[in-house]
Amino acid sequence: MTGTIVEQATTLFDQDAAGARRGVRVELVDCVRYFGSVAALDHLSLAIEPGELVALLGPSGCGKTTALRALAGLEQLDGGMVRIRDVDVTRVPTHRRELGMVFQAYSLFPSMTAIDNVGFGLRLRKVRAAARRRRAGELLELVGLSAQAGRFPHELSGGQQQRVALARALAVEPRVLLLDEPLSALDAKVRAQLRDEIRRIQLEVGITTLFVTHDQEEALSIADRLGVMAHGRLEQIGTPDEVYARPGNAFVASFVGSVSSLPGTAVPGGMVEVLGRRIGLRPEQDVFLPGSAVHVLLRPESFAVRADPLGRGIVLRRSFLGPVMRLAVALPGEVEVEVSLEAARAGEIGAGSAVSVEPLGPPLFVTGRDDA
């Protein structure tokens, strides 16, 4: 380990002869972790392919951090197994797992300068001072902070501190990179910027990465694959567009992206009737007996909206999202839907306008409804 770092000090990261990504496969297998009677991990299984960035998304308290910490060995498991490069590391202590981790809270060592923070892992590995400084300097350059090498953490902004933390995590050539909501303490602009940069660096380095967040936009934009968690379980995992367009259940449908839920009725011919219109179901959604009451989940873009003095919808709010306008519309029966339309066509529609709203199929998701 020590040898490789010293020898590789000039090239940032070790590459295969073929130039393939050097990432390793990482697996959580049937992991269980209880805190008292709360199952923070409830038979969670997750595999991350070499060089892949998987984002774990879920509401606060669903067990994302616990999953990440279990992978790192910072949290013991009550059941299950952690595998890195097909080797069971469940009993291997954290400091021998060769990981890099970036935390939600600022975690730089306050008494060390940026470059000493980055070189810390190398110092623990007894890398000589000259080689250590050289490599730490390269990592700081990778995160764009060469000029701040001599600064102390309190002299850096939040975004800069997290960059240094990323450089510090990567300096030891870890096999896996773990990020626990690294952007949540930053403000929106810095957050988006640093998010893209993390992705750029991750691709450049080719390291297997688990990125935990409760921010769906962050998860959708950064991930190769997106895992959605709830109550310690993995509800669904897939590419961001798969998860967005084909949610596996109602929770995923409503947690990722915006949806409106409308009461509807199944009708013959693989259709549902909603808002007085019939829309077609995808074959896998056509599992309801005709006449049964259902909830129909629709994305804002699955509606046709136009200004209509006789329309039954009343616009409650409108928000401008660049190319599209998002409207909250009240419909008869105390139903509120979120719809979007091209900003150019939204012209005279404002709060209080009457509009007509038509659903366009197929729906995002359909569930049974007991209350009717």
Binding site: L74, M101, A105, S107, S111, T113, L124, F152, S157, V190
Partner: protein
């Protein structure tokens, strides 16, 4: 060391606004503060000056250094001082070695025991020394009870109400979990993480705890005397029964010593606070992004 220098420099560059704020505060409360300061100074200085005068006064209004001269040649006094210093340094070392890992471990792993431990460290304040001494004679063979090592251990316990509070306060002010997690994922075991990550953060407080323990040891009389050790205060008492002016000279000297110690300490502490203040004042203003939220903010 380099770290300290840079910190101070940063403090100097950003001290402007902070100093102005302080000046405004002074203008407002100056008369009151002055009075309080003068009264406290009198309270401490008058006995000190009187003692000094008593020590240096000869017969019928003359001044003499005879007491001081006698002191310098008093072999028993110097050997008692040496014994006291040895015991004090030993006690300070044991205090740091014992209490800093304990406080870290309790705060990290057994937070529910924190209050219990805090209570336990207060026990020496309420148990009379005589009781402790009797207990020692009951518990240990006499040979061990008369070893200076035991006295050092006793002082560790007796000074604990003060030393533990200082250390534990500093440990609690750290974001222990994040720092240790970071240290461990970077490849440090518990021991390395403790020494390389946490100790540098605790340096000032550990120094304070050591000084408190040392000051306690140099001044403690009852326990040493009851156990039959001729430590500095015990010797001082003995001199006092024979040559009161010499004893007074020694105590003035001892007081000055402790005063210097404390002054150095608070000066060091003061400098650190100024350096911290510069963060608020904005440092050199080159940070490209908005200021970060409060340190260690786990949301």
């Amino acid at each position: 060391m380099a770290a300290l220098t840079i910190r101070r420099r940063a403090g100097a560059s950003g001290a402007g606004p902070a100093r102005r704020a302080t000046a405004a505060g002074f203008r407002f409360g100056l008369p009151l503060r002055g009075a309080v300061l003068a009264l406290s100074a009198l309270y401490f200085l008058v006995p000190l000056l009187a003692s000094g005068r008593f020590a240096l006064e000869g017969a019928r209004g003359t001044w003499t250094l005879s007491a001081v001269r006698a002191l310098a040649h008093d072999g028993a006094l110097w050997s008692s001082l040496l014994l006291s210093v040895e015991i004090a340094l030993g006690a300070a070392a044991i205090t740091l070695a014992l209490l800093s890992p304990t406080s870290v471990w309790v705060n990290l792993r057994l937070p529910r025991l924190r209050r219990v431990l805090e209570g336990l460290t207060l026990v020496p304040l309420v148990v009379p020394v005589v009781v402790v001494v009797l207990g020692l004679y009951g518990a240990f063979p006499p040979a061990f009870v008369t070893s200076p090592a035991l006295l050092a251990l006793e002082y560790v316990v007796l000074a604990m109400p003060y030393s533990y509070r200082v250390i534990d306060g500093a440990v609690q002010s750290l974001d222990l979990h994040t720092l240790t997690d970071a240290g461990r994922t970077l490849g440090g075991g518990w021991v390395q993480t403790f020494f390389r990550v946490l100790l540098p953060q605790l340096r000032t407080s550990l120094m304070s705890a050591a000084f408190i323990t040392i000051a306690y040891c140099l001044g403690e009389f009852a326990m040493a005397s009851l156990l039959g050790f001729t430590t500095f205060p015990v010797q001082l008492f003995q001199i006092g029964t024979e040559q009161i002016d010499e004893a007074t000279a020694v105590s003035v000297f001892a007081l000055l010593l402790v005063f210097l110690l404390l002054a150095t300490l608070s000066l060091l502490g003061g400098k650190r606070r100024v350096a911290r203040g510069s963060i608020v004042a904005g440092g050199d203003g080159t940070a490209a992004e908005p200021p970060r939220p409060a340190r260690a903010g786990r949301s």
